[in-house]
């Protein structure tokens, strides 16, 4: 039995909590998450939002006025002139959701996170831990609510909707349909019959099938039962692989869960002060990379994926996930890969954070026993210059290796803070203590 945990309007709830809006206001007012931080109209009034963009999650009142998630900002404001835009906070959303997933893993569940506010886990394997299925669901509800409340720091309860069914998609449909704090549990045959009456809007929860909703609606298909009756071949012919997937989902068939592997997360953050954008922010990023690589918990492992996030001066946050083409442990190459992403920062940053999302294998230290000769034949005069250059390069490499070894030995004897270097973070700052910081010397 798959259990789906759904927190409706999760991003909006977090944005409202960040802007200290009461739950009552969230329920009664037309709210939407602004297209991007820094450009939106705040809840206290102010200037009209600049530029285009599409609104994020919207409140029930906004939905009733015709505003929908993903709608162009201009259209949303035309439909609902008193729409209040909240600054989106993807960093906070990720933190709160990570806390909720951690709480679910804390009750023993192997979790598949779909998106913030939506996760699945297999309940049968937890029966030995919690006794019954109902007890498992109750434990999951308690864990998610307490984690989310702790992370947000509010006393008001979050609406946690839970559905349980034989497959992933059926469980999702049950969690979306349920309107009370009690979980909706569907058994095998009952689940597929029940699913047939559900609207095709549920396909929007899957990235691959979301684009099908609009053409299917135009064709007059309203429910998943009507979609299933169209036939797999016809849907494949019209929509390709997405059509076949939609047909499977409409019949209640779905893939098995892909649970995430719980692993440690290393993170480093820094208040950027005046270095809130541009080249100076790049130097702050360099310091964060050095600090992260110097952490002893890394145990020589390379970095496979990292998350770069920032809290913005104007409020809200920004977050980018970076997967490296190959596992890296070289500070310069990591910096090069990450610094490109800083260009998409929507507004000046107040703090910058770098977290390792996935580690790669440990970096091998083995070097060639003999220096390999160049395979290319060159003219004798060029060869003399080439040999001189190769010789000086080898000396520099040997010096760097000795320095690395010395740094490692000093750290082993006197601790991590023993070998530091001065890094110019913001050399043009008018405040002297913000110009230079001491950061760890990279070992590699």
């Amino acid at each position: 039995m798959v259990v789906c945990v759904h927190i409706p309007r999760f991003e909006l709830e977090v944005a409202a909590a960040s802007s200290r809006l009461g739950r009552r206001m969230l329920a009664g007012q037309a709210l939407a998450v602004a297209p991007h931080a820094g450009a939106g109209r705040s809840q206290t009034g102010g200037t009209a939002p600049a530029g285009g963009g599409r609104v994020g999650e919207v409140s029930g009142a906004a939905e009733a006025r015709g505003v929908a998630r993903g709608m162009a900002l201009g259209e949303a404001l035309a439909r609902c002139p008193d729409l209040v835009l909240l600054t989106g906070d993807p960093v906070r959303v990720a933190e709160v959701w990570e806390a909720a997933l951690g709480a679910l893993e804390g009750i023993g569940a192997a979790v598949e996170p779909a998106r913030p506010g939506l996760a699945y886990f297999e309940a049968d394997s937890l029966r030995a831990v919690h006794g019954t299925q109902q007890a498992t669901i109750a434990a999951a509800r308690r864990a998610v609510r307490s984690a989310a409340q702790l992370a947000v720091g509010g006393a008001s309860p979050w609406r946690v909707r839970i559905g349980a069914a034989p497959t992933r998609f059926c469980a999702l449909a049950a969690a979306v349909a349920v309107r009370s704090p009690r979980a909706l549990v569907l058994s095998g045959g009952e689940a597929s019959r029940w699913l047939a009456a559900r609207p095709i809007g549920l396909l929007g929860f899957q990235e691959d099938t979301a684009a099908l909703i609009e053409p299917l609606t135009r064709l007059g298909v309203r429910t998943l039962g009507e979609l299933a009756r169209l036939g797999r071949a016809a849907l494949c012919d019209r929509f390709g692989a997405a059509g076949a997937l939609a047909h499977d989902l409409a019949r209640g068939e779905d893939r098995p869960l892909r649970t995430r592997q719980a692993q440690e997360r290393l993170r480093e953050s820094m208040e950027v002060g005046d270095a809130s954008s541009g080249e100076a922010l790049g130097r702050v990023l360099g310091v964060l990379v050095s600090r992260l690589l110097a952490r002893s918990e890394r145990r020589g492992r390379t970095l496979r994926a990292a998350t770069l996030s920032a809290r913005l001066l104007a409020g809200g946050g920004w977050r980018e996930r970076v997967v490296f083409r190959q596992a890296l442990a070289d500070a310069e190459r990591i910096w090069l890969a990450l610094s490109v992403r800083l260009r998409s920062l929507p507004a000046p940053a107040a703090t910058l954070e770098l977290a390792v999302e996935r580690f790669g294998p440990p970096l091998g230290e083995q070097e060639a026993l003999f220096e390999e000769p160049s395979p290319h034949r060159t003219h004798p005069s060029v060869a003399v210059h080439g040999r001189a250059r190769a010789h000086s390069g080898a000396r520099a490499a040997a010096r760097a290796a000795r320095l690395r070894e010395a740094v490692a030995q000093v750290r082993a004897v006197a601790g991590q803070d023993a070998a530091l270097r001065a890094v110019c973070v913001d050399p043009d700052s008018r405040v002297p203590e913000r110009r230079v910081v001491l950061a760890p010397v990279p070992e590699r």
Binding site: L313, R434, V436, V437, A439
Partner: protein
């Protein structure tokens, strides 16, 4: 693990009569006033920064930079 260099340290400063010009820093008389400048920063945040800096030479010939935090009224030594 990372720390800023040149962190300001509290200083005992005595000023002249009413003009706010330092005449004694940490017990040492000021021999020569070189320069003074004002730094106003982060006024757009909830923690604005307002400092009046003084670069001076003590009677023992030491170059010293002190500033008065105009928000709290306290004196700090930053660079000697």
């Amino acid at each position: 693990m990372t720390r800023a260099l040149n962190i300001p340290r509290p200083a005992r400063v005595r000023c002249g009569d009413g003009d706010g010009v330092p005449v004694r820093v940490n017990g040492e008389a000021v021999g020569w006033l070189c320069e003074s400048w004002l730094v106003e920063d982060r006024w757009w945040t909830g923690e604005p920064l307002r400092r009046r800096y003084w670069e001076l030479v003590g009677e023992r010939g030491r170059n010293v930079i002190v500033y008065r935090d105009l928000c709290s009224g306290r004196w700090f030594l930053q660079g000697a």
